[in-house]
């Protein structure tokens, strides 16, 4: 009897802890028959999107490990990746070598941007998320300055196909035709009409292994210590500020690689808007997978990318089927991605608030007890 009750309680907790993924499974189940896609098409889309997005989402894990919350500044890495791609396209280095070169070029840019972001975040401890959110907007302005005005006038761009007719600045769309899906098609296998980009998944697997390995290194342990309590970590001889900067730099570099993988799959990119929504969608996907602001695992990333993109594929069609208006579904999925982040943030903050008041309450109790004893 007693045992039954505990299992009931744990089931309730299981439901509570995974409420967001369960809600998404339900949304997908409702949308699935309404959208009316064939399973083969759906699976194909899903596998493509997993290959495209997972790397980017994994970039978020390290700052969470260091207790810095959701790194909205991953957009900085995405911008570094885009600048690298523009340069490589201009130098006309095609195919896999082009992709690899772009990744190499993105590293110094990402490190520079990561250092900038990390240093600023150290000045804003306790509100890293909102600061990184606005740093990404600020950097978007700088990115536009560089790409729209300095490229072609100061930074040499050789090919006029890339430039705006006025002679400087990059066109609104950059074509990556020469490297389109090169990474995905190499070693790709076809299973029952579903193309599986094996190489892309291998790269993602390598990154997962690196993250697992990194957690066990000295630096990884330091990061976890910093996340637990900055003051204790400092007393233990850890350079807190440096550790936090490293976490952000690593996240930025990974995001840069992720953006290159993402864009080679798409085959072209809107120069000035490709990165604007990347942060929101990656973070929403991670949260849908059951992650929270202070805890996220590789499993959350995979579950999240599956569920979130399932919703993304289904919502427009299902919305059209229900209301007869295709825009409803579009707005619905924007609403859901913002809504999921909102709910996760509220849950995180209210838990923190509750924990704080509970410690205060306990402290007051202890004090009262001591006073009573003194009497």
């Amino acid at each position: 009897m007693k045992r039954k009750q505990t299992s009931k309680v744990s089931l309730k907790r299981l439901l509570q802890d995974n409420s967001v993924p369960i809600m998404f499974v339900l949304i997908c189940l409702v949308c699935l028959p309404l959208a009316g896609y064939s399973p083969a098409y759906l699976l194909n889309e899903l596998v493509t999107r997993m290959g495209r997005n997972t790397f980017l989402i994994l970039a978020l894990l390290i700052p969470i490990m260091a207790g810095m919350g959701l790194n909205f500044g991953m957009t900085l890495g995405a911008m570094a990746g885009e600048i690298a791609l523009i340069l490589v396209v201009d130098w006309q280095i095609w195919g896999i070598p082009g992709i690899i070169l772009a990744m190499i070029i993105s590293i110094p840019i990402s490190i520079l941007l990561g250092l900038f972001c990390g240093n600023l975040l150290n000045k804003a401890k306790g509100r890293e998320m909102v600061t990184s959110y606005f740093i990404s907007y600020f950097m978007n302005g700088v990115y536009q300055l560089v790409v729209l005005f300095l490229m072609g006038s100061i930074i040499p761009i050789m090919h006029s196909t890339l430039k705006l007719p006025r002679g400087y600045g990059i066109r609104n769309t950059v074509s990556l035709l020469s490297m389109r899906q090169q990474l995905d098609n190499l070693l790709a296998i076809n299973v029952g009409g579903v193309k599986i980009p094996v190489l892309t998944f291998l790269i993602i697997a390598v990154l997962c292994l690196v993250i697992i390995w990194f957690r066990r290194t000295k630096l990884g342990q330091d990061m976890r210590a910093v996340a637990q309590d900055m003051n204790v970590a400092r007393d233990a001889g850890i350079n807190v500020d440096r550790t936090r900067i490293i976490a952000i730099v690593m996240s930025t570099v990974v995001a840069g690689f992720g953006m290159i993988i993402y864009l080679q799959n798409l085959g072209n990119f809107p120069t000035y808007s490709a990165h604007t929504q990347i942060g929101t969608f990656s973070i929403a996907a991670l949260l849908v997978g059951g992650a929270s602001v202070e805890r996220a695992s590789i499993g959350n990333a995979f579950l999240g990318v599956t569920l979130f993109h399932m919703m993304f594929i289904l919502a427009p069609e299902a919305g059209t089927a229900i209301t007869g208006d295709s825009m409803i579904g579009e707005y619905f999925r924007t609403f859901v991605s913002y809504g999921v982040i909102t709910v996760a943030l509220i849950m995180y903050e209210s838990r923190k608030h509750r924990a704080k008041s509970q410690t205060g309450y306990l402290l007051a109790l202890a004090q009262k007890e001591e006073e009573a004893r003194a009497k």
């Binding site: 804003a124 909102v130 600020f138 536009q144 209301t323 208006d325 913002y338 943030l345």
Partner: protein
């Protein structure tokens, strides 16, 4: 007893700091004020019409000032910068669309719109304030996403709500609101045309006396409120919540009141903006109002926990000057239209600066 030398030098340095211009006025505010001054000096040199530019700045000030004023109560009560202003804007949009739907026309419709927006503002502001009381310390991030989520939610609602007024819905399908609704014949220019003074009538430039007066009225009201007992209590909650609670102030109630006030002012603010602009913008448009509003009050010298009416006025003038003058002046000077980029960098840079600065309190 004489003071030691050490104390004297310290005092001197303190005095110097107090009187040094940059520290008194705030470094970024000095830089931006200098930039604006440079723009005004350059304007006649590059051949822009200075009268017209000044007139434009005044007009834009009259559109935006109330929205910026909406930041003040929440900053005062310690709820930080109100990135959740879209909620107020949504209340205003609901009021405006309902006023037109119910057949109100002419300048009176402006006041009907405010009246209709008020219950929504109270409701949304109340819920929002209740939420913010549960998550003290994390207001800004959550406010940002509450704003974004509610805008996306309203995008669906604008399509689904049963509006029928032919001036507002899509002509072809007869349902779903348009993205931009002209306010001609409704409350377009309702305030601005009141007692307007011509500056350059040939170019359609007038001094919007009514709108400026309306702002002055609200600003005066805000100033007076902040000096009442409730207003002082609100400021106390913002500067030291523990002290405020110890002196018997209900912290949560004060914060809730400030959020409701901010939301209502946001609703009025967007209606004032629309009457000046002449159009109502729905769907994702409220998104573009948040940043300029927050940036403006920060440029004015406010910090995340301190804001005054002069901050609102100075900030709005400086920000709107940058927005109005950079396109004409910079384009003429370097033959590149960098205005949009300058705007993005200044407004976001300002917010990042405010979030990362250590000192408490704003510049005087």
């Amino acid at each position: 007893m004489d003071k030691t030398d050490m104390e004297k030098t310290l005092e001197n340095r303190d005095l110097m700091e107090r009187f040094s211009f940059a520290s008194r006025f705030g470094l970024p505010r000095t830089i931006i004020a200098g930039f604006v001054l440079l723009l005004f000096i350059m304007a006649p040199i590059v051949g822009a019409d200075l009268t017209m530019q000044v007139g434009n700045v005044i007009n834009r000030f009259s559109w935006n000032a109330v929205l910026v004023l909406a930041m003040v109560p929440m900053i005062h009560s310690g709820c930080s910068l109100n990135f959740g202003i879209p909620l107020g804007i949504i209340a205003g949009l609901l009021g405006g669309t309902l006023a037109i739907q119910l057949g109100a026309t002419g300048p009176v419709s402006f006041f009907i719109a405010i009246l209709l927006a008020t219950p929504f503002a109270l409701l949304l502001g109340g819920g929002y304030g209740w939420l913010l009381n549960r998550i003290k310390g994390g207001e800004m991030m959550i406010a940002t996403y509450v704003g974004l989520a509610s805008i996306a939610f309203m995008c669906m609602m604008w399509l689904l709500l049963p509006y029928t007024s032919p001036t507002m819905v899509w002509g072809l399908s007869g349902k779903g609101l348009r993205t931009t609704i002209s306010l001609d014949g409704f409350y377009g220019g309702a305030l601005a045309n009141f007692l307007q003074i011509p500056i350059d009538p040939a170019n359609g430039l007038y001094f919007p006396t009514g709108a400026i007066l309306f702002f002055a009225l609200l600003a005066l009201g805000m100033w007076a409120f902040l000096h009442t007992k409730t207003g002082t209590a609100m400021t106390a909650v913002g500067s030291n919540p523990l002290f405020a609670r110890a002196s018997g102030i209900n912290v949560d109630k004060m914060r809730l009141l400030s959020v409701i006030m901010s939301t209502w002012l946001g609703a009025v603010g967007i209606l004032v903006y629309q009457q000046g602009f002449g159009f109502m913008q729905l769907y994702m448009a409220p998104n573009n109002m948040t940043l300029p509003t927050v940036a403006a009050i920060l440029i004015g010298g406010a910090a995340v926990n301190k804001a005054t009416i002069p901050h609102v006025i100075i900030g709005t003038i400086l920000y709107q000057s940058v927005v109005t003058l950079t396109p004409t002046v910079m384009t003429a000077m370097i033959h590149m239209d960098v205005s949009e980029v300058v705007r993005i960098i200044i407004s976001n840079g300002m917010i990042v600066y405010a979030l990362t600065r250590k000192v408490k309190g704003g510049s005087r």
